[in-house]
Symmetry: C2
Subunit: 135 residues, 2 copies
């Protein structure tokens, strides 16, 4: 098992358009695209760094009941999770759970076919960690 890189940071926001003004115009990041991720009930703006050096994702809940919506109403806008790319998701989960890290639910698959899973923040010193294996 190897962690390859910080794939992205996800920031939960109440208003994607307003947040894009700050992260595009203010920070000078480039918007790649916006898409709806129906599985997570969020709209996501993807702002990659140059040369594949990670990405910032701004996420806005599209329903009031999702995990992201509850996070926003409870904690306000801010960092939601970090995503680490691994070479092999199955062996990573085996080794991490053997060391006490707690996996949240089953492995999921996004629209591109990449697989991902979340680690419970209680087992990772308060950080919601997504593990991701590129398809």
């Amino acid at each position: 098992m190897t962690i390859k890189k910080i794939d992205h940071l996800a920031i939960v926001v109440a208003d994607l358009e307003k947040a894009l003004q700050v992260y595009q115009d203010g920070f000078g990041l480039t918007l790649h695209h916006v898409s709806e991720e129906s599985a997570e009930q969020v709209k996501v703006a993807y702002l990659p760094m140059p040369e594949g050096q990670g990405e910032i994702e701004l996420i806005q809940p599209t329903t009031p009941d999702s995990g992201v919506a509850k996070f926003l109403s409870k904690r306000g806008e801010g960092l939601h999770h970090i995503c680490l790319e691994v070479d092999n998701l199955t062996t990573s989960i085996q080794e991490m759970t053997a060391h006490g890290l707690e996996v949240l639910g089953a492995i999921r698959t996004n629209q591109r076919g990449d697989q991902y899973v979340f680690i419970h923040p209680k087992s990772a010193h308060g950080v919601l960690v997504e593990l991701y294996e590129r398809a």
Copy 2:
């Protein structure tokens, strides 16, 4: 002004030794070194990704009065800030403040001579952002 990369993510923890067990043994990250950063009143463990793909920093307050200590007692362990590397800190600050981002205090210099400054989370949708220019 250009943001070059996500330089690091900082995670505030109560007990650096315990957190290192999780991030080294559990996640399989490699500890580069631990050092005291007296200016910020914290002890920092540096866990770089392979091939310069960003870094995770675990930070533990060394005094009860620092900003990091107050964050920990108020919000608990978790993500503290993200650090973005810029090509030029002075022009970045000028352009960002012109777009409404609020700088927290003066530019500071670390032990290696790198310069950095923080952006107020209220102006950045809840995220404490460090801007950093390599010496």
